[in-house]
């Protein structure tokens, strides 16, 4: 005989789960009680359920394994919503188990009751409310299978307290999922693959756009091999950075709103666009009418609903991109480099990423990221938050391999960075993990600092403090006549009469004092306010055996370029050279 709670923990063990991010509360006490007696599973207590989900997400992004969260009902459950939606949009496999009130009182507005199955329906790959303990083993088996198979995604399991306490005779964890209606595709259609191989042969200006599906499928090596065999240049989306090493001669960079000029031009001018595990997000395509207008579109994706969702597709291939790449490799003949490769290369050379750091001037955020690169080793994992620093990181971080750059793509969730870095670090205790964050974003989950200290999670926190919500400020500067409405983080009520948002000589103090916040949370904090201090602070921070926070007071009025204004063709690029 076993109880529902014991079954749950046994299932986690059978699924190979050795770490759970969680937060307790009334109705999940039976489960936490079993965990108390289960040393094989490490439970990390975050300080907020949102952070628990992001940590499970970061763990999954870095390791490729399914992240697991355990929270209580009501507010515990609703606090996971942002994390679930974030994982859904980036197709990250996590399983979030929430406690629920007893089945007998569901629907009565019982204490801490929230309809979790209903709340999570549009933001999860699937969700379950377990009403009988007999169903629990199969629901758990199905949940883990759904989360990681096909196009991965978050699964929510709502477990009422009485089900967790109910006994079940003859429990055995099922060997297989039982979901007749769900059969994720594997191999791509051979005819379509031949068609694509023929199109590759004929194309004179082919481009590959690789997305997060390449990471999910573990197909980076196959992608590089295919690109090399056919000499096709590759652009990688934010979600796929690292799939092609950034010093590879076929690498075009990230395309889109803040993409590399070379990548954007190549996508606009190509005659064959091969999308692989990507969903043609509006931040990548810009104006849809003009996007790759002259190209034949081929699209490989495991999710049939992605194909044709945004672009009219001539060569659709539904299947696991790794298996499709393997088949494609057999079908395609080697193809020599041509004039197109030369043109594309030239675009890269003519439009390099650059910035000019005045040694006496204010610290530029790009410069700090460049110097972080020097501290990083081959296996360093870098997480980001959301905003300008995220885009600069995407552009300036050295990307050497997959699953090493963790960023909230689809949702753009501020507050993702620190907990995601924690999850990655717990997944790979021996690899250095850095989070590059902004003064706005870090404050959205700053309560996790003691989690790092107490659990000895050695995350290095790089705060690019520009005293504002930089990305929004940039939009206000460019598109809202410089009306800096609520983007200054030093603003006080009396500012309105003297300042339109950014006086260079602003007398107001920076709050919080990040160095003291770090120290108050038991980790060393360092601050650089001058260019000459940047390397010193980085060296000190990276030398700490454990977590450390490094704050860089960077230039406030600095825009991310290149930039394509929203909805414009992606070859209409602001370069900001005139600044």
């Amino acid at each position: 005989m076993m109880t529902g709670a014991e079954i749950l923990i046994d299932a986690l063990k059978k699924e190979g789960v050795d770490i759970v991010f969680g937060y307790p509360g009334g109705v999940v006490l039976p489960v936490f009680d079993v965990l108390f007696k289960t040393p094989e599973i490490r439970v990390v207590l975050t300080r907020h359920e949102q952070a628990a989900v992001h940590a499970a997400d970061g763990y999954a992004r870095a390791t490729g394994r399914t992240g697991v969260c355990l929270v209580t009902s009501g507010p515990g459950a609703t606090n996971t919503i942002t994390g679930l939606a974030n994982a859904k949009l980036d197709s990250i496999p996590i399983v979030v188990i929430s406690g629920q009130v007893k089945t007998a009182v569901i629907g009565t507005d019982a204490f801490q009751e929230a309809d979790m199955a209903g709340l999570t329906r549009p933001i999860c790959k699937h969700s379950y409310l377990v009403q009988r303990v007999e169903d629990l083993p199969q629901v758990l088996k199905n949940s883990f299978y759904i989360a990681r198979s096909g196009r991965p995604g978050p699964v929510a399991v709502d477990l009422p307290a009485d089900v967790a306490q109910a006994p079940l005779e003859n429990y055995a964890y099922p060997e297989h999922p039982d979901i007749p209606s769900y059969q994720p595709p594997e191999k791509g259609n051979a005819n379509q693959i031949r068609k694509l191989a023929a199109a590759v042969k004929q194309a004179s200006r082919p481009v590959i756009l690789a997305g997060g599906g390449i990471v999910a499928a573990g197909a980076s090596a196959e992608l590089v091999r295919f690109a090399e065999k056919t000499n096709i240049p590759v652009a990688t989306t934010l979600m796929a950075l690292g799939c092609v090493p950034d010093d590879h001669e076929l690498f075009l960079g990230m395309p889109g709103m803040h993409g590399r000029v070379s990548a954007n031009y190549a996508l606009m001018e190509c005659d064959l666009l091969i999308g692989m595990g990507t969903r043609f997000d509006d931040r990548v395509t810009g104006d849809l009418k003009s996007f790759a207008a002259g190209a034949t579109i081929a699209h490989v994706d495991i999710d049939p609903s992605e194909i044709g969702k945004i672009l009219r597709t001539q060569i659709p291939i539904v299947g696991d991109v790794r298996s499709v790449l393997a088949d494609l490799d057999k079908a395609v003949a080697p193809r020599p480099a041509n004039e197109w490769n030369r043109i594309v290369r030239e675009w890269s050379l003519v439009h390099p990423l650059s910035y000019v750091q005045d040694p006496e001037g204010e610290i530029l955020p790009q410069y700090v990221i460049d110097r972080v690169n020097l501290q990083a080793s081959k296996d360093t994992i870098i997480a980001t938050d959301v905003g300008q620093h995220q885009m600069w990181s995407a552009l300036f971080v050295r990307h050497r391999g997959p699953r090493a750059f963790l960023s909230s793509g689809g949702m753009g969730t501020m507050g993702f960075g620190l907990p995601a870095a924690m999850g990655a670090s717990l997944g790979f205790p021996d690899r250095p993990v850095v989070v590059i964050t902004g003064d706005g974003s870090i404050q959205m989950n700053i309560q996790e600092l003691p989690t790092c200290t107490l659990n000895r999670i050695p995350v290095k926190i790089v705060v690019l403090n520009n005293s504002c919500l930089g990305m929004v400020r940039q939009w206000q500067e460019l598109f809202y006549d410089g009306h800096y409405s609520k983007t200054c983080l030093k603003e006080r009520p009396e500012c309105r009469s003297v300042c339109s948002g950014h006086r260079p000589d602003c007398p107001n103090a920076f709050w919080p004092d990040f160095v003291r916040v770090a120290e108050a949370n038991g980790m060393p904090g360092f601050r650089a306010t001058r260019v000459s201090e940047v390397d010193e602070v980085l060296c000190k921070g990276f030398a700490v055996d454990g977590p450390a926070l490094m704050e860089f007071r960077v230039k406030k009025i600095e825009n991310v370029y290149p930039m394509v204004p929203g909805g414009k063709p992606i070859n209409v690029i602001l370069l900001g050279a005139a600044r």
Binding site: R121, P122, K125, P180, S181, P304, S305, G308
Partner: protein
């Protein structure tokens, strides 16, 4: 050009499947014109007939999204303009104190059935193509329809 379609959706018979389907449509701003759902001969399988209006491209995209739901077994979209069999069912309660025989003539003409009689009302049922039901309602209008309910459309592929 938008047209009417019936989506015939076969799903696992589970709590919440209808909510999933309707949520998917509402999140995309699509109005459901009618919806009929019932268990099939297999008690574990449920079928939903759902009428929406849209371009062929939109309907195809929606079908794929519905197909993507974990509980969905099969989705077929049937365009109404193809003229395949589409049927509806209706109950109508008609005040019939004076014009009883005239009403009965129309009822017979349409092949409707009287299912309930009271001194002041006739209750009839009628099934058939939507147009036929529309016409019947038109004919009954002068007598004043007290109350009616239509099932919404169901379809089979040809």
């Amino acid at each position: 050009m938008t047209e009417k379609y019936t989506l015939v959706i076969t799903v696992a018979n589970r709590v919440g499947v209808l909510a999933r389907i309707s949520g998917l449509l509402s999140s995309r701003g699509i109005n459901i014109e009618s919806i009929v759902g019932c268990r099939t001969e297999n008690p574990d399988v449920y079928q939903v007939h759902l009428v929406i209006r849209g371009t062929p491209e939109l309907v195809q995209k929606i079908s794929k999204q519905v197909q993507k739901l974990i509980d969905t077994i099969k989705v077929v979209d049937i365009p109404h303009k193809k003229g395949g069999p589409i049927r509806e069912f209706m109950f109508a309660k008609i005040p019939a104190r004076k014009d009883r025989s005239e009403i009965l003539d129309i009822v017979n003409m349409f092949g409707a059935k009287i299912v309930d009689i009271s001194p002041s009302f006739l209750t009839v049922d009628l099934s058939g193509p939507t147009r036929k039901i529309d016409q019947f309602m038109e004919m009954m209008k002068p007598f004043g329809i007290r109350e009616y309910i239509r099932s919404g459309q169901i379809a089979v592929g040809s």
